[in-house]
């Protein structure tokens, strides 16, 4: 049953999703990739703590989220909030020539950046990553009611922000 390569392979399979989550958490693309790298390294080093038969994705997401919390806490409040310069997602300098769709993407990502951290992580996990409330409650060690109320506040704030013109 013990296949040394399968853990790593499964983690590699998760990489794109973990990276997307890192971008949901971080306000900056470079930070997001640093966070992804740190989470992959931590997961590989802590592989003994993962229990086969449980979900590897929840476990790896939890590692990433805890690393992110550590980073946020240790960082001073200097945080120059730049918009993520993710290639392929840039709206470009002149939005007049762009589709409304691209404007929406830009607007929604900026809105995500403006959410408080504790709402943003839950919005990212449920609305982007597709986890259920209970999964997120277990992953973050929060009561399900807290997950639910933060999600309501987060998505309501997002809708208000993307509605602004």
């Amino acid at each position: 049953m013990d296949q040394p390569s399968s853990f790593e392979s499964q983690l590699a399979e998760l990489l794109p999703r973990l990276r997307r989550f890192a971008h949901g958490l971080s306000r900056d693309a470079a930070d997001a990739d640093d966070l992804t790298q740190a989470a992959i390294e931590r997961a590989l080093n802590s592989r003994d703590q993962w229990q086969p038969g449980t979900r590897l994705d929840s476990w790896a997401y939890r590692i990433m989220r805890n690393l992110w919390i550590d980073t946020v806490r240790s960082r001073s409040r200097k945080a120059a909030h730049e918009a993520p310069e993710e290639e392929g997602l840039n709206v470009g300098e002149d939005p007049r020539n762009r589709m409304d769709e691209s404007l929406d993407l830009k607007r929604i990502m900026t809105a995500m950046e403006r959410l408080p951290d504790e709402q943003r992580e839950i919005v990212a996990l449920i609305l982007i990553e597709g986890f259920g409330y209970r999964e997120v409650s277990e992953m973050l060690g929060l009561p399900i009611g807290t997950v639910s109320s933060r999600l309501v506040r987060g998505r309501t704030a997002l809708l208000a922000m993307v509605g602004e013109r």
């Binding site: 990276r19 971008h23 997602l89 209970r134």
Partner: protein
């Protein structure tokens, strides 16, 4: 849960069938809520539209360095399917018992287990049996939701169902519901199955192989119920 939280839980497919039906009725009757539901669905689509390209794009090389190249990866989805309990063969007594016990411990109980084994065959019991007898797909209530109702190739009527921990197919045999197959809900979804989730692929395959013709529409389902599922 506040009404507002319930509304969003409904939107996210987090409510059980009874609560979902209640919120759905409330939303349908209130144009303001209907509009809000549309706005939030669009918001969800926008979020995914903004972030999905990150998952679709190749990760920078430094992130892949510590991991095996993805080209070498086995088909994870296929392996996951292979690991899922897939038990269309109910003649195997041992397997039947194992699943009976499994489901017995997994499903919320208000008394009896939802399954019973007789002469090596598995039958619906208690809540599950009642749901199969009385519920219509169009009027979900309680923990067990009915999916498709159809006539099988042997002429008997079969119904697919979704419970909190498992989904399955039961067919009418000698006045009882014989369970032809039952599949555990994906891990992490037990006790809180999501309405938005489609039919379990194993169950879909079983339904596909059993069905003769088309599934019943609401009128045919009602008529079959009135005739005692014969």
């Amino acid at each position: 849960m506040t009404d507002e939280e319930k509304f969003f839980a409904w939107l996210d497919g987090e409510l059980d069938a009874a609560q979902a039906a209640e919120v759905e009725a409330r939303v349908a009757a209130d144009p303001r809520l209907s509009r809000l539901a549309d706005q939030h669905r669009a918001l969800g689509a926008q979020l995914r539209g903004a972030f999905d390209p990150i998952a679709a794009a190749p990760a920078p090389e430094r992130l892949q360095a510590a991991l095996p190249p993805r080209a070498e990866l086995v088909d994870f989805a296929a392996r996951k399917r292979a690991r899922m309990p897939s038990l269309p063969q109910w003649a195997a007594m041992a397997a039947t018992l194992a699943v009976g016990l499994f489901v017995g411990t997994m499903m919320p109980q208000r008394g009896n287990a939802p399954l019973e084994v007789q002469a090596g065959k598995l039958y619906a019991a208690s809540d599950l049996s009642r749901a199969l007898d009385t519920r219509l797909a169009s009027a979900p209530a309680g923990d067990v939701r009915i999916g498709l109702t159809f006539r099988a190739k042997g002429g008997e009527i079969c119904r697919s169902f979704v419970g909190p921990a498992a989904s399955g197919l039961a067919c009418r045999k000698d006045g009882r519901w014989q369970v032809r197959g039952m599949f555990a809900a994906p891990e992490g979804q037990t006790g809180n199955y999501r309405m938005a989730t489609g039919m379990d692929p194993n169950l879909a395959a079983l339904v596909g192989s059993a069905m003769a013709g088309e599934p019943f529409d609401a009128a045919a389902e009602k008529a079959a119920k009135d005739k005692g599922w014969r």
